[in-house]
Subunit: 342 residues, 2 copies
C-alpha cells in the first residue's frame, strides 16, 4: 500500500469531521494514551472526536485528560454502533487486525462505506484493512507513532501538555519504563520533546503505578512468601493463587497484575508462571527472560499464546491438576531453558 | 569560585597523569556509573586511572566494564592511601563535602599538595573544596554531568559503548528509571545519545534489577505480608525487620534494598519507613511521596537526614522501643502529612 499523504491532509485538515478512534480489547496504557493523545490533537482542528473502546478500561489510566468522554462498546452498544456508522474518519490504533476489537469488529464492519479508515500500529504482521496505514514494528509504542504523525502533519508547535501527558503514558507503559529493547534513541528524543511541554513525570508515574490497595500489596507479599514454587533445575518459578486465596485478600480485577514479573528478578529464573483461578477456570500468565519462547509453550499446551517473552493461556482442569500438568512438561523444555541466554 | 577551563584542559589533556577517582561511602549506581564512565573516558588520553571507593560496592553494579580494577579503602587501606598521596589529579564524584567519604577522608586530607582536585556533583549545598567544581543540583545524576563534561571537553566522538553503559547505569538508578522529577528533557536527550553507541538497555536493566536471590524475594514477601504496619490516619506505613528475622532469610547486605519503596505504591501512603536491625543498632530508611519532608523528621528525631523524599536515620534503642518512639511522634506530623500533596 502506498500512503497518499495529500488525500490524508485533505480528509483531516480542510473541514470539521466526525472522527472515531478505536482501540483493541482489554485496553492498556498505550491504546488509551495514544487514543487520547490523538483526540486532543484532532480537537484543535474543530473535529467532533469520540474515543470508543471495545470493553472497560482499567482504573490505572482513568486520569487521562478528558478520559470521561470515552465510551465502551460493551456497555453502550447502540451509541457506539451509531457513532461508528456515522463516522467520516475512523482511526484504528494499536492493533493490526480488526478481530483484535473483539465484538466491536461487528460495528466496524458495518461502518459507512464512505468512512476513511486510518490504522496506526506497531504490532507484527499487520493486516491491510485501512485506506491509510502507518505500521512500524520497530516503534516502542503506538503513542510514539502518534507523536511522529503530529510532527509530520502539523509540526512541534501543535504539541501541548494535554497531548504530551497522554503520549508519555503510552510510551512509559509500553516500554516498561524505557527498559524494553524497543526503546530507541528516537524514543528518548520523543520523550524529551514531550517533557518540554512542562508535564510532571513523577506525578504521572505515581498515578499509573502507585495506586495499589493495601490488600493488593498484602496479596503480593503472600504470593512471594507462601505461594512461590521454585524449580532451579528448570530455571522456573510458579505462583498459584486459588479463588479462595484471592478472595481472602478482597480480590479486585487487576490486583494480580504484575505479580508474574517478580520471580523474574531472581537471577537464575528464566520462566515465571502465574496461575489464578476464577469461576473454576485457571488463567495462566507466562513470562520469560532471554530467548526462551513462552509463546510456544502456551500455544502447545494451554490454549494460549502471545509474544516470545509474554504469553497467556488457560486450563479447565483444577488448580492442582493444572499445576501437575505444568510440572510434567517442564522436563520437555529443560534443554531450551538451559540454553536460553539472558 | 570561577572555574578555569584553560587550566583544566592543560591538567587533563596535555600529558599522561596519575588520576584517582573517589566516590562517597556506600557507593550506589550513580557513584560507580559516573566513576567508570569517567575512567573509560580518561583512559583514552593515556592516563593511569584508579577508581577507589570508601567501602565495598554492592553486587548489582559489579558488571560495570573493568569494575574489577577498582579498589576499596576499607579493604586496601595502604594501597589506597599511597595511590591518593601520589595522585596528580583527584576527581571527587557524586558528593558535596569530603566527609561523605567516611574514613577515606583521612587519605584525601593527606594528598600531595600539588594534586589538582576536581569535584563533579549534583547534591544540595556543596562545600568549596576543589580547584575545579561542577555543581549542578538540577542535574538528574552525576553521570549526566560526566556526559556533559565529556561533550564540553572532547565532543560526542569521544563517547563509546563502554562509557555509555556506565553513564546509563548511573542515570537509570539515580532517576528511579526516569521517574523522579529531576528527569529533564536534557536527561532524555543525553540517554538518546548514549543509546546511539549501541548499548543494550534491556540487558543492563536485567543486570541491575533482576539479580535477586530466592531468599531475597521471600524476604520481600515476608516484609509485605507479615511485617507491614499501616497507619491510615497518618498516611504512614512501617516495616520492621529484626536481626533474627533477617537471618532466617540468610540475609546478605543489600537484600533489604528497595523494600521501603513498596508501601509507597499504596495510594494513600505518603510516608514509608523501614527499620532493620544489625548488631543491636536499628537502621532507619524513610521515604515520602509529595512534599512531606522525611529529611526534617529524620534529622529531628533519629540522628539522620538526607533528601526531602528519601532520608536515613538510626536508633540505639531496641526495635520495640524504636517503633514505639516512631509511633509516638506520628501525631506531631499529622497535619503536615494530611496536607502533603502527592
Amino acid at each position: 500500500m502506498q500512503n497518499n499523504w495529500e488525500k490524508l491532509n485533505q480528509e483531516l485538515f480542510t473541514s470539521s469531521k466526525r472522527v472515531i478512534i478505536l482501540s483493541h480489547r482489554s485496553p492498556d496504557g498505550d491504546s488509551v494514551g495514544s487514543s487520547f493523545g490523538l483526540y486532543h490533537f484532532l480537537k484543535k482542528f474543530n473535529h467532533h472526536v469520540q474515543v470508543i473502546t471495545p470493553d472497560p478500561v482499567p482504573p490505572f489510566i482513568h486520569w487521562i485528560p478528558e478520559f470521561e468522554t470515552a465510551i465502551n462498546y460493551e456497555k453502550q452498544k447502540d451509541e457506539s454502533f451509531d457513532a461508528i456508522r456515522a463516522a467520516d474518519i475512523i482511526f484504528c490504533l494499536d492493533f493490526n487486525t480488526p478481530s483484535r476489537m473483539g465484538n466491536m469488529e461487528f460495528a466496524f464492519d458495518r461502518r459507512s462505506k464512505d468512512a476513511y479508515v486510518i490504522n496506526i500500529d506497531h504490532h507484527q504482521q499487520p493486516d491491510n484493512f485501512a485506506h491509510f496505514q502507518i505500521s512500524d514494528t520497530s516503534a516502542s509504542s503506538t503513542a510514539q507513532l502518534i507523536f511522529d504523525f503530529i510532527i509530520k502533519t502539523k509540526g512541534k508547535t501543535a504539541l501541548d501538555a494535554q497531548i504530551a501527558q497522554c503520549l508519555y503514558a503510552g510510551i512509559l507503559t509500553d516500554t516498561g519504563s524505557f527498559r524494553f529493547s524497543s526503546t530507541s534513541p528516537h524514543t528518548h528524543r520523543v520523550v524529551a520533546d514531550l517533557l518540554e511541554t512542562g508535564i510532571d513525570v513523577n506525578a504521572i508515574y505515581q498515578k499509573i503505578y502507585d495506586n495499589y490497595s493495601q490488600d493488593r500489596i498484602k496479596l503480593l507479599g503472600f504470593a512471594l512468601k507462601d505461594k512461590l514454587k521454585l524449580y532451579p533445575e528448570y530455571h522456573t518459578a510458579i505462583i498459584d493463587l486459588s479463588e479462595k486465596e484471592l478472595n481472602s485478600f478482597q480480590f479486585q480485577k487487576g490486583d494480580t497484575e504484575g505479580i508474574v514479573n517478580f520471580p523474574l528478578s531472581i537471577s537464575w529464573v528464566k520462566m515465571s508462571v502465574l496461575l489464578t483461578q476464577k469461576d473454576g477456570i485457571v488463567k495462566m500468565s507466562f513470562r520469560s527472560k532471554g530467548n526462551f519462547s513462552v509463546n510456544e509453550l502456551a500455544r502447545n499446551h494451554f490454549n494460549g499464546g502471545g509474544h516470545e517473552n509474554a504469553s497467556g493461556g488457560m486450563s479447565t482442569l483444577s488448580m492442582q491438576e493444572t499445576l501437575k500438568q505444568l510440572e510434567s512438561i517442564l522436563p520437555d523444555y529443560k534443554q531450551k531453558l538451559d540454553e536460553s541466554k539472558i
